[in-house]
Amino acid sequence: MSKAEDRSDSSAERDDALAAVEAALERESVTEVEPDARQRQELALVLRDLSPAPTARFTAELDERVAAGFPRRAGRPAAPDARLRALVPTLLRHVSPPVLAGAGALLVAVAVGLPLAVSDRGPVSVAPDGAGAPPSTAAPRSSLPEAVAPASGEDSSGTRAEFKSGSAPPTAPGESRRRVARSASLTLAAPDERLDAVADGVTRTVERRGGFVLDSSLSLGEDASTAGGSFDLRVPARRLRATIGDLAALGSVRARSQDGDDVTARFVSVEDRLLAARAERRGLLRRLERGGSPDRIRAVREQLELVLAEVRSLRSQLRRLRERTTYAKLSVTLRSDEDAGAAPGSTGAALEDSLASLRMAFNLGVRALGVLIPLSVLALVGALVIGAVRRRRRESVLA
């Protein structure tokens, strides 16, 4: 006989035995004639009869408590965790599960989306007012915002503020020790009648982000093939991404590229050479103070001039490098394109906005799910593990 048949037989035997037991319990009598089955039935009835019964006193006491709804005994307020446990079913009763799930998802979405939105600052909608003012052509260096003005060896009054030997040169806020010169280009398209407004929007966006227009040109006219413009912009490197986002909202993006050039090695090299040149200059000045023969003094002066020229040159190089890394180069090309999009305020623009909002909501939802799903899996696994451990601990007394 095969193992499968054995199993089948034993399973059938078990089922028959259990059925006999159930029959005896149900009918409260022995119904089988076969000796073993009869014995099982007798055993079942004896086991049931052996079960202890509650006393009349205990039953009466508990009846009273049940009838009174288990009043809490005086001086025994419900434990905080008991109150909390009682709150969960109450919540579940009054709030439907889909609403609870939605609220949970919303909480996660806010928790995930808010930091992202804050870090990106999102595309800020700039509605060009179409005032028709030509975009500014070039911003003078003096117009740089103070907060992002490139640090240099000279302060604003022109007096020299040399770095102390051994101390790190000052860096712009948010700069790391790695120096990267960033550049980006963006090609925007807009309907012919909106070109002027978009160009104005470009200027205002860049200025709002702490940047400036280095060069710009705009051509408006009857011929759509020649209409367009170009902007050579400088924006604080740390705000480049946000600025591109803002600019992209002004028109229809046709092309976008970004590039970075790591100039850390060059920067460090120039810095080191500047420090060495300054040390040499100090040495020469000391030698000059000590005096000596006229020939010797003349030789020191000549050497000092050479060193001073080198210091100036290195300082200039350092300033240029710092400016390149502090400010990113952003080239914006503006093109006339009738299919580029609807004018702001129009139904088409509203539709575009609503689509963009939908897209953003969808993206946010996907991000939230990206967090929610692993968290749910973790919570589930945690709950299972905790449940298993608690069960095992509880059942340890049965071992």
Binding site: A44, L47, L50, P52, L62, R65, V66, P89, R391
Partner: protein
């Protein structure tokens, strides 16, 4: 206090599903008080078999019903019958009590024996004594299984719910224990 329904206030659809199987569909849902009256002797029998202490069994039984009353809104018929739910609560309370006492639920002590009725036939008394004696040789888990089945009067499906095992497994375990007990009785008899 209105105990007419498990969930005070209105009769919820969930309650309608919480009726015991023999209650026809559409009939009045069973109140907590009815459930209590129906299950008190069975829960007590199970707890007393587990704790082997009448006073402790009373405390734990009362505690189990109180917990069940306070958590009655958490009962979901889709997860099993009201019996399985209540016996699960009683089991946890009994095991907690055993742990609190810091003692093992062993079979060292005799189960509390009820004095046989004077009119009880001799044969029945002898059979009971034999079974009691054979019960001492069973493990605690085996005894618990018998208490759930014969003291608690649970179906195999309900036993499996309470113990967190499959119904088939519960049937197999039960069959083994009954056979073990039967053989032990035969050897002693």
């Amino acid at each position: 206090m209105d105990l007419a329904r498990w969930r005070s206030g209105s009769v919820s659809p969930v309650l309608a599903q919480s009726e015991p199987p023999d209650v026809p569909v559409g009939a009045e849902p069973e109140s907590f008080e009815d459930l209590y009256r129906r299950l008190l002797p069975r829960v007590y029998a199970y707890v007393a078999s587990l704790l082997r202490d009448r006073t402790g069994a009373e405390d734990v039984t009362a505690l189990a019903f109180e917990r069940a009353y306070r958590r009655r809104t958490s009962y979901r018929p889709s997860r099993g019958t009201a019996e399985a739910w209540l016996f699960g609560i009683a089991r946890n309370a009994a095991l907690d009590e055993l742990r609190r006492r810091g003692r093992r639920a062993t079979l060292d002590a005799d189960p509390e024996e009820l004095a046989p009725a004077a009119e009880e036939r001799l044969e029945l008394s002898l059979r009971r004594a034999t079974v009691r004696s054979a019960l001492r040789d069973l493990g605690t888990r085996e005894r618990e299984l018998l208490a759930l089945k014969f003291g608690g009067g649970l179906s195999n499906a309900e036993v499996s719910r309470v113990l967190g095992i499959s119904e088939s497994n519960a049937g197999t375990l039960l069959h083994r224990v009954v056979e073990k007990l039967r053989k032990a009785c035969n050897e002693q008899g």
